[in-house]
């Protein structure tokens, strides 16, 4: 991973008015939720980040806005990664979907929706993927108790 490439990218993002820093070898950029789709499109076409690696979220209970949605992109040419973060509120946890730009977004957004209840505007297939139809709540939110059970089939009593 070349430090020079990261520095060039950081300067490019900073010039666009986006807070960017290099943390433990990864470039981190903070983008506002409404601007995310346009930013990702630019990231793909101008900076060569052709692979969407990962979509997830972080729950910060007590903080407002409560959630960070986190994307990891990878450039298969430059071999660098960039982490893009967007803060969203509990009341309106909506970010734009990247399914139009990256095929891999579909499943990962479904997982993030399962686990954190983040809605991806533009992804019309947010059916449960790791959970099941009828599951109530979002298990990776910190206020979901670890031991809450929702058996799909009633437990058999001996």
């Amino acid at each position: 991973m070349t430090q020079g490439t990261l520095d060039t990218l950081r300067e490019r993002f900073s010039a666009d008015g986006l807070p960017a820093e290099i943390a433990l070898g990864t470039l981190v950029v903070h983008v506002a939720a409404p601007a995310m789709h346009a930013f990702a499109a630019k990231l793909k076409s101008e900076s060569g980040f052709d692979m969407l690696l990962d979509v997830t979220a972080i729950d910060w209970p007590g903080r407002d806005p409560r959630f960070d949605v986190v994307w990891h992109f990878y450039s298969t040419h430059e071999h660098v990664r960039v982490r893009v973060k967007t803060a969203v509120t509990e009341g309106s946890p909506v970010v734009p979907s990247l399914t139009k730009l990256y095929g891999s977004a579909a499943f990962m957004e479904r997982e993030c929706h399962d686990m954190y209840g983040i809605a991806f505007d533009g992804n019309d297939d947010l059916r449960p993927i790791l959970l099941y139809e009828g599951f109530v709540g979002h298990p990776l939110r910190k206020d979901y108790p670890k031991d809450r059970e929702q058996p799909l089939v009633p437990y058999r009593t001996p």
């Binding site: 991973m1 943390a23 433990l24 070898g25 990864t26 052709d50 692979m51 969407l52 690696l53 990962d54 997830t56 972080i58 729950d59 986190v70 990891h72 990878y74 298969t76 071999h79 990664r81 982490r83 990256y102 095929g103 891999s104 579909a106 499943f107 990962m108 997982e111 686990m115 297939d125 059916r127 449960p128 993927i129 790791l130 959970l131 099941y132 139809e133 009828g134 298990p139 990776l140 910190k142 979901y144 670890k146 799909l152 089939v153 009633p154 058999r156 009593t157 001996p158």
Partner: protein, 409 residues
Amino acid sequence: MKLPPLTSLPNPVKSAFAPSGEGGPVIVNIGPSHPATHGTVQIIAELDGERVLRTDVHCGYLHRGFEKECESHTWHTVIPYVDRLNYVSALINDFAYCEGVERLLGIEITPRCRYLRTLLSEYSRLVDHLTCVAAGLMELGAMTAFLYLVMIRDYMYEHIADLTGARVTYSYGRIGGLARDLPAGWLTRLAEILDRYEVFIARVHGLVDRNRIFIDRMRDVGVLTTAAAIDYGYTGPILRSTGAPRDLRRDTPYLAYAELDFDIPVGIKGDNYDRYFVRMREMDESVYMIRQLMEMLPEGPVDVVDHRCMFPDKALVYTEIESLINHFKLVMDGPAVPAGEVYVAHESPNGELGFYLVSTGGGIPHKVHVRAPSFVHMGGVHTMLNGYQLADIVPTFGSVNMIGGECDR
């Protein structure tokens, strides 16, 4: 005991498409538990005769709340859970996770540990590819090749058990080191096993490579282009089978890979045959790397000296108050990992295995997220199934090597 009638049980999945009625395509449900699905996965396929029109892939049947569970364990006690992600090459999960925590702590591991982790990573890749190729061949009826390969794999399992104490889930990585150093004679036995491997892998090549039945089932089936592979986030042997020489061991070198000489095998058209052959060639490269590492392995300690994460010597715990407190704090509170976030990616046998760790400065992770290659691959597997025959689902899905443990977490 009284069970509810079957009709009242809710369906855990909602299919993306419904039967279209008389004369239209037929919907066939395959899995989640099916002898030929190579894992617990459900494929709902829309068929015209025997041709697959559309598929809707559902995973999650092995979801067990791995990430949730990690949030109530110390950084140390997460390690046994990590083993159970890709349980065919558990050591690579261990080392990737430990490297993530070490980066947060700012620890640099000892040279012997670095080379040993590299050697064991390649050994694990060998085991993983042997399993994948063997199972894929067995599903096509090649029983002899299957038995040859799993026999070698079993030598390796027993051999790794000599080192770690377990055949499959090792819990061998430690933050800042390894559970223990190599036992006496371990490398001698390793050299013997690698020689045996070469004899049997040559037999498998002879049985399979130019076998007409095998070629007919594999060539031009499940074709994936490089562009589609990158779009759907494919990494590892599947991406390489499309002809793209993308390998994290070369592109973003970690551990001791920068010092090793190795080739990156690629395919020519990204079909099942290429995926088989890329894995076979990668195993040869792993053997080549292991032999280099056996020569390079330096003497010295395997563990760093760092009281934030390393357990003190047991003799000192019983005789010295500082070590006793150190031990107590590490067990009860966990290692104090500075606040921060890190994304660490290793080239696992299936592709990019990423650990995204978030620490708030305590002994317990705020978040442990796994970028599991199998899960991402499931998002694009329909492109390899649609348009082929129903029977092609079996070899294609086998060549994708979906591992339920890491896919469903």
